[in-house]
Amino acid sequence: MSLTKQEVESVARLARLEITEGEIGRVVEKLSSIIDFVDQLQTANTDDVMPMAHPLDMGQRLRTDEIFEADQRNRYQVNAPEVEAGLYLVPKVIE
């Protein structure tokens, strides 16, 4: 088992995933098997290989610096649970 229960709990917390006590054992097992599978790559010699950042072998196309998005706030805010004075309202977050 390559992952510990604590590691899985910590990753789940960072990703805001809720995993119940009943599920955790199975998740540790499954995630570990995925990690172990990928770990096989560690055996390959990559000394002369440039790390791949993207599967497509191309450079990023650059856009001209122009404004082309009009204000559609009213349409977008229809989808929000709550808005006030043009702001999206969310549960209170305090520093």
Binding site: L14, G59, I67, E69, G86, L87
Partner: protein, 478 residues
């Protein structure tokens, strides 16, 4: 115990593009909330980022101007954390392969000496939105207009040893980004802000102490005060046998102290990975050469030229090159005046700077243009008016009373240079002050100033001061 402070800064400069780094929404400041937040900025599913070429060009400019390595291939990565002002759940940033790497910049300190500060890297990223914690039915309001504004995060080496050096470095970067026209540098609007990494260690120690990171400092004064507070706090902890905790802190300008931001502690695991929505940025040599050709004269070059060509002090040259516009103004004055570089420098950094300050204007809004100022100074040089009268003329010009010559004529300010006229005034003054005259002649040299004052008063300040001095000295000697 002697302690040494170690400081590194992460400066965030908003790049002054008209549209956002990954979307076509406007970046203009001060709009109604969320009217400049499109689907990409809102993090809607299925929306894809398209990179703004101007943001890349501006980052390259910065790299070239600081002699840094401009990466021929750089990669965008996702920095993952949850916060309401970041609706995607990640910030698009650069991690392992930033666009600008390993440079250095010369910083002029208060005493005129210089130091080199290393630049670790500068990378492109998107700004987050703003959370407003005023009471909206007990909730937090989110404005995403700022989300997606391009930022250049400039990371220094931990090369600074006190708060003043850190401020001088920050000012140097601030001046540079405005010279390059890559950021407006407006600190009130948050276009230019920094995080300070601060630690202390025993003098002579090779290893760094544990650091704290002070977030979101948006004025030079706050940077200096926050660092000074933090250094004291850490030294107090260490001297009383405690340990500094590595943490993020906020500076409270009202209480002038830093305090812990516990809420963000756990989030410090960002799980960066290359963003699959963006391809690597590949820059050709020709592209970089084209940008290099557009670089303006840099502040350090201009400063050196002002010292070399105009014979200015390092201090004056530093003041005059603080912005491109101020340097241009000064050069116009000298050009029109045909020299007199020192006189022009005194006026631009003195009377003119004072008037601008009082009116809360910057040089481009000056009520007196460089030609008008040069013409007025020409009248000082040709002895039409004295330097003292010139200040009155300047004030009248500032309040729109006309050109220097018009004001000199209308007010009858022409200097008295006629020797016999000045002599007759001196005779009157001496006759009216027999006591002072006797005292002066019996050795009270200090009274010379009294006589100068009286002559100036009698001529309403119009007598040529050099002539007054010379003639008085002869006459008083008897």
């Amino acid at each position: 115990m002697e302690w040494e402070t170690v400081i590194g800064l992460e400066i965030h400069a908003q790049l002054n593009t008209v549209s956002k780094i990954f979307s076509g929404a406007s970046t203009a400041y001060g709009a109604e909330p969320n009217t400049q937040a499109c689907l990409v900025d809102l993090g809607y599913p299925g929306q894809l980022p398209v990179l703004n070429g101007e943001a890349v060009a501006k980052a390259v400019k910065f790299g070239l101007a600081t002699g840094s390595k401009v990466a021929r291939r750089s990669v965008f990565a996702r920095k993952n954390y949850f916060y309401p002002d970041l609706p995607k759940g990640y910030q698009i940033s650069q991690f392992e392969l930033p666009i600008v790497q390993e440079g250095k910049i010369e910083v002029v300190l208060e005493d005129g000496s210089t130091m080199l500060v290393g630049l670790t890297r500068a990378h492109l990223e998107e700004d987050a939105g703003k959370s407003l914690h005023e009471d909206f039915k007990g909730k937090t309001g989110v404005d995403l207009n700022r989300a997606g504004t391009p930022l250049l995060e400039i990371v220094s080496e931990p090369d600074m040893r006190n708060a003043k050096q850190a401020v001088a470095y920050m000012k140097t970067i601030h001046t540079l980004v405005r010279y390059l026209d890559i950021s407006d540098g407006n600190m009130q609007e948050g276009s230019f802000r920094c995080d300070a990494n601060v630690s202390v260690r025993r003098k002579g120690s090779e290893t760094f102490g544990t650091r704290s990171e002070i977030k979101n400092l948006n004025s030079f004064r706050f940077v200096e005060r926050a660092i000074n507070f933090e250094v004291e706090r850490q030294i107090d902890i260490l001297e009383s046998g405690g340990k500094v905790v590595q943490e993020t802190r906020l500076y409270d300008s009202v209480k002038d102290e830093t305090r812990s931001m516990r809420s963000k502690e756990e989030a410090n695991d960002y799980r960066y990975f290359p963003d699959p929505d963006l391809l690597p940025v590949v820059l050709e040599e020709g592209y970089i050469e084209d940008i290099a050709a557009t670089l303006p004269e840099l502040p350090a070059q201009k400063r050196a030229r002002f010292i070399g060509d105009f014979g200015l002090s390092a201090y004056d040259a530093g003041v005059l090159t603080a912005s491109r516009e101020l340097g241009d103004y000064y050069e116009h004055v000298v050009e029109r005046l045909g020299g007199e570089a020192k006189l022009a420098s005194n006026w631009v950094t003195g009377e003119l700077a004072g008037a601008l300050n009082r009116a809360g204007l910057d040089i481009s809004q000056s009520a007196v243009g460089p030609q008008a100022l040069a013409d007025m100074l020409g009248r000082v040089v040709d002895n039409t008016i004295s330097g003292k009268i010139a200040k009155d003329v300047f004030e009248a010009m500032w309040s729109g009373e006309g050109t220097a010559d018009e004001i000199i004529d209308a007010r009858g300010l022409k200097q008295i240079t006629d020797t016999s006229a000045i002599e007759s005034v001196i005779d009157q003054v001496m006759a009216a002050s027999p006591g002072q005259l006797a005292d002066y002649r019996s050795g009270k040299d200090k009274l010379f100033g009294y006589f100068v004052g009286q002559v100036m008063k009698a001529t309403q300040g119009k007598a040529n001061p050099a002539q007054v001095n010379e003639l008085l000295r002869q006459k008083l000697a008897g």
